[in-house]
């Protein structure tokens, strides 16, 4: 069991609230979106109708999931106007704010897997099945191939992401078992297993946000004290190293890896305020070169 709590240093330095700012904002975003969807079926207040596959807000704004629309296209069906417009809006939005911001700020499964990840850490569950993080891209390709071969949106038969959101709005049924399976898988079998290794929805959105302007930047990487809290809290820790430790290698401080979910937890847990939201263009390779080179000779 880890004696040191992740972010303890940051809490001591910045206070609890400042050390949980982005986490709280993210939970608020996830829960209020869910509440907005639930207002209809629970209170009869139809601000938003539909679910994450497609929704209509205030009877005017169409939003559709570009991944499911792409599957329909591959299956040989061109969706009607509203479906296409909705997909376009969502595509542009996630292109701007980072594709996998969907995972961190919107997707309801994130609540489940974050809880599993937190519990895994608290219970000190060690050991994790080794599966490549790029498996999700193979699964993404498989879902599209299957859509084309079967002429149906095959992945939607089993997709836990849409199953959970749809279930909360239209009745869960056995979807609760599927979500429980994802939770147990992340807790006992593979650390960050679903969202970080397998989920093709996240893989799709990572492609969407490959060139997103809004990124997280280790702009004060010179101040890094190698406490490793950011690596431990990050759901995709492999994305941090090039940016944080790249000063001596001519790599800029912006986290360019498409799988960074823009969740902002690294900003929260860093007692030295190394990380911040920034634009990908503000990426000078010589940022913090001096001190990190010094750190590299010392630690790496």
């Amino acid at each position: 069991m880890n004696n040191k709590r992740i972010g303890a240093e940051a809490v001591a330095a910045k206070g609890w609230l400042a050390a949980h700012r982005w986490l709280l904002a993210r939970r608020a975003s996830q829960l209020s979106l869910l509440a907005l969807f639930l207002l209809g079926p629970l209170a009869g207040l139809w601000i938003v109708k539909g679910n994450l596959a497609y929704s209509l807000t205030l009877e005017t704004l169409p939003l559709s999931d570009p991944y499911v629309v792409l599957q329909a296209l591959v299956a040989g069906h061109v969706p009607a106007r509203l479906g296409l417009i909705g997909a376009l809006i969502v595509t542009v939005f996630y292109f701007l704010v980072g594709g996998r911001a969907y995972c961190a700020w919107v997707c309801p499964v994130n609540l489940v897997t974050d809880f599993a990840g937190w519990l895994r850490l608290r219970l000190g569950i060690k050991g994790s099945a080794h599966v490549s993080r790029s498996s999700r891209y193979a699964i993404l390709a498989m879902t599209l191939l299957l859509a084309g071969l079967s002429g149906t949106i095959a992945w939607e038969l089993v997709n836990p992401v849409s199953m959970l959101h749809r279930g909360l709005l239209f009745g869960l049924g056995a979807a609760s078992a599927v979500v429980l399976a994802v939770f147990a898988f992340d807790l006992f079998v593979m650390s960050r297993g679903w969202c970080g290794h397998l989920c093709p929805v996240g893989a799709f959105y990572s492609v969407l946000g490959k060139w997103s302007p809004l990124r997280i930047s280790a702009s004060k990487r010179a101040a890094c004290n190698d406490c490793m809290d950011c690596f431990e809290v990050c759901p995709e820790p492999q994305v941090i190293r090039p940016a944080l430790k790249g000063a001596g290698k001519g790599i800029g401080p912006v986290i360019l890896a498409a799988n960074c979910t823009n969740c902002g937890r690294c900003i929260d847990v860093c007692s030295k305020d190394v990380f911040t939201f920034d634009l990908r263009y503000k990426n000078p390779p010589d940022n913090g070169a001096q001190i990190t080179r010094h750190a590299a000779t010392r630690g790496n």
Binding site: H77, P79, A80, G86, I139, G151, L169, F170, K210, A257
Partner: protein
């Protein structure tokens, strides 16, 4: 595998040498096997999901099941906009494809709204926006599936399915038949006409027997099909403006069996005179000169009468 998220050192397999390359190939093989296995399982499940249970009916405007499953993105907009809340999204445990909309006629039939809000709500056109007249929708086909329990077939006047039908007297008619059991009554047989039945399910919903005796089934399951080559003489004749298709074709008339001593103008009965010619015309035989010839003689008044009998 060069993918977003992997670092530069992992991304160039060509640069790898010896054990590293071996490891890369093995890892790739492992990944492909795993995902392939997953894909196979999903493919098998997909195939099964295409077989919708017959009593789950799609909303109006849904195409063939295979096409529908490629077009419906499971958003539930149709469910939300149905004013009678008859639609449901299938849950994972149900035999209907997960997340797709359906209704069950026995518990809640389609009320056939004139403005068809479910179709208007559909963002993908999985429910066909070209369908604007609900009477043209074909959600299924009503079938009087059990004549042994249908009260009208038992000689009573239930008529409920006929009365509730939104397309009354077209989709369901009551056809009269003598009740041979009592010998003195009439049976009013509910008869479904597929060219008008929308498959809304109101008949199944209203049927008074414990298990519905009339049911809406997928048209594919319920409907027979005549061979392409079939021509119904009486219909062809109407289409041709009263002119028979077989008239003037020089066809051989086959004998009609008539009770002894009965004569019918224009009919040939081998039991009555005159006898058959030894050979049919065209093979050397000559049609007899007498009135009731066995053979049609094109152009003559008698020939016309014969062929008009054929046409019936």
């Amino acid at each position: 595998m060069p993918t977003p998220g992997t670092t530069a050192s992992q991304a160039t397999p060509r640069a790898l040498k010896g054990p590293a390359r071996r490891q890369f190939v093995l890892d790739s093989a492992r990944l492909l096997c795993g995902v392939g296995l997953l894909g196979l399982g999903l493919a098998a499940y997909t195939k099964q999901a295409k077989a919708r249970p017959p009593l789950a009916i799609r909303p109006p405007g849904a195409g063939a099941e295979g096409d529908f499953l490629g077009a419906c993105i499971r958003c539930g907009m149709c469910v939300r906009d149905c004013p009678y809340s008859i639609l449901d999204l299938a849950r994972p445990e149900s035999p209907v494809a997960t997340g797709t909309p359906y209704f069950t006629a026995r518990s809640g039939p389609c009320e056939m709204c004139e403005d068809i809000p479910c179709i208007k709500a559909c963002p993908t056109g999985a429910l066909d926006h070209a369908l604007t007249d609900i009477n043209q929708s074909r959600m299924g086909l009503a079938v009087l599936s059990d004549q042994e329990t249908c009260l009208n077939f038992l000689g009573m006047r239930c008529d409920v399915c006929y009365r509730v039908c939104p397309v009354i007297d077209k989709a369901i008619t009551l056809d009269l038949r003598p009740n041979t059991r009592t010998g003195r009554h009439t049976m009013f047989i509910p008869t479904v006409h597929s060219e008008h039945c929308t498959g809304c399910g109101k008949c199944e919903n209203a049927c008074v027997t414990d298990e519905a005796s009339i049911r809406v089934l997928p048209a594919k399951l319920a409907k027979g099909a005549l061979g392409e080559h079939y021509r119904l003489g009486w219909e062809e004749k109407t289409k041709a403006g009263g002119h028979s298709l077989v008239e003037d074709q020089g066809l051989v008339d086959l004998p009609d069996r008539l009770p002894e001593g009965v004569k019918l103008e224009g009919h040939f009965d081998p039991g009555s005179s005159p006898p058959l010619p030894s050979l049919p015309p065209g093979l050397g035989g000559e049609p007899t000169a007498q009135g009731d010839s066995a053979l049609r003689k094109p152009g003559t008044e008698q020939g016309k009468r014969l062929s008009s009998k054929d046409a019936r």
